[in-house]
Structures are given as C-alpha cells and as structure tokens.
Symmetry: C2
Subunit: 252 residues, 2 copies
DNA sequence: AAGTGGTCTAGACCACTCT
DNA sequence: GAGTGGTCTAGACCACTTG
C-alpha cells in the first residue's frame, strides 16, 4: 500500500512547531469556523468530502473531527452528519453553571436584570486583552434557581465585540446569556476559568439576596474564552451558599 | 481485505448492552489492572502483544489503550512502552488539589498531622458504600502551602481497605496521601467530586488557621473514587481563602 | 538494530437517518 | 437505497528509546 505523497506543511523531525497532519486539518477546520464558513447549528461537510477537500484519508479527517468533537466544538450524529455546536437547541442546558441546589434537583433558571451600562475600565480591558481605553459593558443581575435568588452577578463584556447590546436584547433572551452571545453577536464561549473565594457579602449583595450583610458567600470570578482562547467575558458572582453549592468533578 | 471473524461478546444491534470491540478490550485491560496483573509504575505488554493476546488488530488495542490514557489510567511513552499510571514518580504533583496561592506560584506543600482515630460513623459508612456498622479512619491535618497554613482537613477512609493505617505510615509519606494510598494499600484514586460552600469558620478551624472565629472560609467536601468508581475517601476541608483561591477550568 | 508507540492510508462492513 | 458517522482490519512508514 502506498503512503501519502502529500505536501506536509511542516517536515517531521527536529522542527519544534511540527504538528501531525490531523492537527493541521483540525486547524483548517477551526479556521473555517472562525471565518463563519460553517455557523453554529449548521452541518459541516461529510468526512469523505473533507477528506477530498484537504487531500487526506477519511481516517485523518476523523481524527481531526474527533478532537474537535471532544472539545465540544463540533457535534457528531451518526447517520445525519457533523454539526457546529450551538447553545440554541442544545439539551446541555446552562453552560459553565457550577451552582446547584443542595436538596432539590435544578429545575429552572431565571434572571432579574438590575442594570446595563457602558464604561471605561482599564483593569477589565487588560484582562480582556483590549486597549486600556476601550469600553466595556457592565451588566448586573440576580440569578434565581428554582425561583429563589441565588447569585448576584456582575458581567463585563468588550463593547467592541458586543456592539449594540441593550437591556432589550438581554431581556429578550432571559437568563440564556451565552445563547444570546452566540445568536446575536456570533461569540461562542468554549472554555472558562474560575477562581472561587469565601468572602463576607458586601451590603448591596446581601440586600439583593435578602441576607444580612457579612454573610459568608462564594465569590466566583470567571474569565470565559471563545475560539482561539480569546478572553471575551468577565464575571464576578456572589453566590449564597446556604442552600446551594459549587459543584466540581475532577479527573485524576 | 477480510473482516474480523472474531467472537464478539455481544452481537451488534438491538442489545442495549452492546459495546464495541475496543470497549470490550478496554474492560479486559482494566480487569488486569484491578487484579493486579500489572501494577502502578509497571509497563503493560506492547500493543502488538496485546493484539495477539486478545486476537484483535493493533488499531483496536490502540483505541482501548487511548481511552485509558486519556483517563490517565495508563501513560504512553513513545519508544518505551505503556505504563500503569502511578503517583510515585509522576511529575503531575498534587492530584486533585484545586487550592492555589493568589499571588505567588505554588512551590511547596506541607502537612501537620493533628490526629488519627478509628471509629464507627454510619453516615460516612453509607457514603463510602459500606455497611453502617463498618469502621472508618478519621484523619485530621493542616495543609500548608508555601509554608503557610491554608486548610484544615478531615479525611475519612474505610478501615477495611486501609487495614493497618497508623500515624507512622502517614508521617512517613508526609503530605502525599494519595501516593501513600497507592503504595501501601494499592488504592489509586481516579476521580473526585467536590461541593464547595462558603461558611463561617468553626472555632477549632479558626484557631488552627490563626483566624478569628467566623471568618468566611471555603468548605470543600470531596468524595474520591478508585477503579470502577468505588468511593474510597471522604474529605471535608476548610480553606482560608484570604490568600488562596479554589481554581477550576471548565470546558464547554 | 530492534522494539515501542505515533501517524497515515485504504478498504471493508456496520448502524443509523432520511427520503 | 443512498448517505452519514462508527468500527475494525492490514499494512506501511515514522520518531523515539534502549542496547
């Protein structure tokens, strides 16, 4: 059986930047996602078509698509095709939400919008990889789990990426912010990093969650990333953990 | 090219319990790990040998081993072989540790043993999947990060699995409990689930960590699982989050 | 040089979905 | 029945490690 006489972008061996063929294919597919050639919810070409397009075997395409599927960038459905992942129709509700009720199951998520403003904030701008003078949107809301207030959230978004954001847009999508980001602004969040601390609730947070000031609460700081690991959202969340907890599954 | 005329343990199709061949191979390999045929740190047979042993192709073995490597049950080393994962020589220090210093990098982990007792505890026994009258070891200690006290931990272990545990054994392995479990008792932890809350520090915890009672602290409850997802360790940790935080990376 | 895992191909058959 | 992803095989070549 003859071997692929295909042009490799990097010769194997010494080169530190060498990537196997399937990684190169993976990068090409990712590129098509970034440029919007295939949009969330849409099918991408079949494996056989992609193999032809990139002049590699189906197996190589499978390995590239497999990694993207593992990262939940793509979703494979046997018999139907491979689709760009989307929050819109996904049954995997509540992306990135680690807060759960202690006793009951999570039934319903709601949000009460407190305010939306646009401002300059050099610290946030830096964390979002922007120029220090760039504007950010600041959105404050109360998260309700099973109809009880659970969290006070402050969300910071780069104004450049979210041009035209209004309270109307937010209210239209209720609590499904990530679904809104994707549908209205084409920004899909893929990863997030959180830092959790225990703090005494500041007065305005305590008031909003109907607790006495100073109640111990979880303070959760999150940075969320889009394609290419670009930071595109900052959150600071104060969570009342008297009836809720932060859940995490760790693997070795 | 002829197709495998091999005995499948489950005919494909309707059967809900059907598992592809590589999963069956994976189960057989896992079995050999459970029985101790291959022990932590040791190499398992080469892919070609395994293919012969199970009468499948190397590709099928690769897929089974690949999944186990992803789950960090096995470790592949190009040119050398495939090894059973172990904490002993691993550079991946501090398994399951989510606490990090805010400012400095994590340099050094230390522990001060407060006590070890054996007792009956029906609640813990139930969580560990044991008979309610079974005994558990209770181990209390203070975790020090970069030489500063950071956490107060209570650890509960099933006495049956950890027969012969003494303070001497614990002190000999210092803070490396998981490495000790593996080396002394053949119990390797693979997964853990944590629930985090913010609470006011109880008096004895506050005293141990040199804080005033009532200081907000993270309360982290953990269940850790061995092969086959058997719960084998319970932890409750109070963590002073004034100079530390709980870190979590979430993926989609 | 021999042995190991890592990549890639080519082709077969299967299960599933849709028309 | 046609098309899709899912599994499995067989064989080639590569990179890496060890003697």
């Amino acid at each position: 059986m003859k071997t692929a006489a295909l042009p490799r972008q990097q010769p194997p061996g010494k080169s530190p930047a060498f990537q196997p063929l399937y990684r190169q294919i993976k990068a090409l597919i990712t590129q098509s996602l970034v440029t919007g050639e295939w949009r969330p919810g849409e099918p991408i070409p079949s494996e056989i078509e992609l193999a032809g397009r990139y002049s590699v075997s189906q197996g190589t395409v499978r390995k590239a698509v497999g990694e993207l599927a593992e990262e939940r960038v793509l979703v494979r459905q046997q018999g139907k095709g491979t689709f760009v992942a989307t929050y819109a129709e996904e049954r995997s509700q509540f992306p990135f939400l680690s807060i759960n009720p202690d006793a009951e199951p999570m039934r319903e998520l709601g949000a009460e919008l407190l305010g939306l403003e646009r401002m300059r904030d050099p610290v946030s701008a830096r964390l979002l990889g922007m120029n220090a003078t760039a504007s950010v949107f600041v959105l404050r809301r109360i998260l309700k789990i099973n109809e009880r207030p659970a969290c006070y959230e402050e969300i910071r978004l780069p104004a450049a990426r979210f041009r035209g954001l209004t309270t109307g847009v937010v209210e239209q999508h209720e609590c499904m912010l990530y679904s809104m980001y994707e549908a209205r602004f084409g920004v899909r969040m893929l990863q997030a990093e959180e830092r959790v601390k225990a703090v005494a609730a500041p007065p305005e947070v305590a008031a909003a969650l109907h607790r006495v000031p100073g109640t111990p609460m979880l303070q959760i700081e999150r940075v969320a990333f889009t394609y290419g690991r670009e930071p595109s959202e900052l959150r600071r969340c104060y969570c009342d953990s008297q009836e809720h907890h932060y859940r995490n599954a760790i693997t070795g």
